[in-house]
């Protein structure tokens, strides 16, 4: 048991009783990082000096008895696609390897207001494109449960850091499953909120209609606290929803009696038998608590991956057009003309997966192919969304596995993009529909964590978290730690 195994409330009690200081928490974070980071490689940038200065400020606040923020003193790691003023933000790309932001993303402003301590920026697939973290242009993060395996992607650094105890909590971003899938592979809790609940201002855009920031934590209660701190309308983001934010923590009643659960048969077909077994066991636990479940069909599930890759790549090709070598980032030397400057800067700044998606998106949006690919995919998105809408008319949540398998070996899929894309088959439909979902640990298969995905109605994070919490308090899977 380490300090990082304590629930947030326990940490706060100890801080309040002066049994612990924020500096102690930061010391512990860097002690664990010093011991494990060489193996795990979760961080791209560490800010020990900044973290210690912030800890000292918070300790003064603690001593003076000033009001404390919701996440007071907690050492947090941030996925490196969120803009942090004065702290290098690279998106794991050579294009931004020296980028020094001049402002904070809204989530960072909110975390600062909640009195967290940022300890560093976390590794990811370049520009959040990938499902294994192997597309980072710096190095690959490793899965703390088995260092020969991937941590998942694209928020692999964020999930691995929490699993390894190298941060109290982290923020990730999810476009097609990039919070939930690595959380599943690393045995931690990953929440993708409803699209629009958390501001995207200052998140480097990949696919703007899908991207969403969310917390990665060791338990569901902490996830509710972090969501509480970062959710809310932001006038700086035109896609931010103006909805009332409920009290997510008090929603964790432990009561799921009468909860109606839908289990899509498409989410169980073709998954690893051990993953399926863990999910069925989880359903038994919930059933034992008074929930009722029924098998349903989400008939358009099999079309989600194709629709997603056309839509996400199209949006990516548009969003990444801003990287031109003029105002910031990579610039090619000795370019003879402005066009050569664009061509050379982009060609040397972007890695293979980013180029592949820009190419796919540009093709799908180009004259003559727009209707056949992009428009068709948008219509299929409507059908997928309808599947969810219809299911939620009768059910409170939808439950299935987060990923079809456990974490796969490093390098095993790197040359086969299509197979890699199919790992996200169970998370992508949720992203296309814009609804919230959480991945919670629900067992182990051959020593590797399995994730249970709980999906809810739009803006009904309360029910999603309540279900996950009720399950978690009756099981022990989330308490297991990798032996590093």
């Amino acid at each position: 048991m380490t300090l990082f195994d304590l629930r947030l409330q326990e940490v706060h009690n100890r801080l309040h009783e002066k049994e612990l200081s924020v500096t102690d928490l930061v010391d512990e974070a860097f002690k664990v990082i010093g011991k494990r980071e060489e193996q795990v490689k979760a961080y791209l940038t560490l800010d020990e000096e900044g973290a210690r200065a912030q800890a000292a400020k918070l300790d003064d606040k603690l001593m003076s008895g000033e009001a404390r923020g919701l996440l007071f003193g907690l050492p947090a790691g941030i996925k490196d696609n969120m803009i942090t003023e004065g702290l290098r933000t690279t998106c794991a790309s050579q294009f931004l390897k020296n980028y020094d932001p001049i402002y904070d993303a809204t989530v960072i402003t909110k975390l600062k207001a909640a009195d967290t301590v940022t300890i560093g920026k976390l590794n990811m697939d370049e520009f959040a494109m990938g499902g294994s973290n192997e597309n980072s242009s710096f190095y690959t993060t490793r899965n703390p449960w088995d260092l020969s395996r991937v941590p998942g992607g694209s928020s692999g650094g964020s999930a691995a850091a929490v699993a390894a105890g190298e941060a109290y909590f982290t923020l990730g971003s999810d476009t097609g499953g990039s919070i939930r899938q690595p959380a599943s592979y690393c045995g931690v809790v990953g929440l993708k909120p409803t699209y629009g609940l958390v501001s995207r201002y200052g998140l480097v855009a990949f696919a703007s209609s899908l991207d969403q920031i969310g917390p990665i934590t060791k338990n569901v209660e902490d996830s509710a606290y972090v969501l509480q701190a970062i959710a809310g309308h932001d006038p700086k983001d035109s896609t931010s929803a103006n909805v009332e934010i409920p009290d997510y923590v008090s929603a964790l009643t432990g009561d799921v009696k009468g909860l109606r659960i839908a289990v899509p048969k498409e989410y169980l077909d073709g998954v690893d038998p051990k993953v399926k077994e863990a999910v069925m066991d989880a359903l038994k636990v919930l059933e034992g608590l008074g929930a009722v479940w029924e098998e349903v069909s989400l008939p358009h599930t099999e079309y989600a991956v194709a629709a997603y890759y056309l839509l996400a790549s199209s949006e990516a090709s548009s969003n990444l057009s801003r990287f031109d070598g003029v105002r910031y980032g990579e610039r090619a030397n000795h370019a003879g003309s402005l066009m050569d400057l664009y061509l050379d800067s982009r060609s040397q700044g972007f890695g293979p997966e980013v180029k592949r998606r820009i190419m796919l998106g540009t093709y799908a949006l180009s004259s003559g192919y727009y209707d056949a690919y992009y428009l068709k995919a948008q219509k299929v998105r409507t059908l997928i969304k309808r599947d969810f809408d219809q299911t939620f008319e009768k059910f409170d949540v939808i439950i299935g596995p987060t990923a079809p398998t456990t974490a796969f070996p490093l390098g095993s899929q790197v040359d086969d993009p299509l197979t890699m894309y199919l790992n996200d088959i169970l998370t992508i439909p949720v992203s296309l529909a814009g609804v919230p979902a959480v991945s919670v640990p629900c067992g182990f298969a051959d020593g590797l964590p399995v994730g249970l995905q709980i999906i809810g109605k739009a803006f009904d994070e309360g029910t999603v978290l309540r279900t996950a919490h009720a399950y978690e308090v009756h099981t022990e899977h989330h308490k297991r730690r990798p032996s590093l």
Binding site: I102, Y195, P235, A335, K355, Y363, Q378, K379
Partner: protein, 95 residues
Amino acid sequence: MSIQIKDVEHVAKLARLNLTDEEKETFTEQLNAILQYAEKLNELDTEGVAPTTHVLHLSNVMREDEVHESLPQEKVFRNAPEEEDGQFKVPAVLE
């Protein structure tokens, strides 16, 4: 529909990317595989189905037209690869 190297070259030009011969071959092969997989969408009849561009009902975000201080030049150019006399410097646009 099959993609040829010349299509990849054309798309690369639109996307402002220079590709090596090896990249052209790899992308031709991979894009063909991905687009072939995407043909799966044609199994669905989407006649009369409205496209979903966005799951939220979006509206413009307007702010009051008030004068604010601009960002200081020092901040604006903090990440500039090259600047001169308060401007971003690029190669000549016209010969």
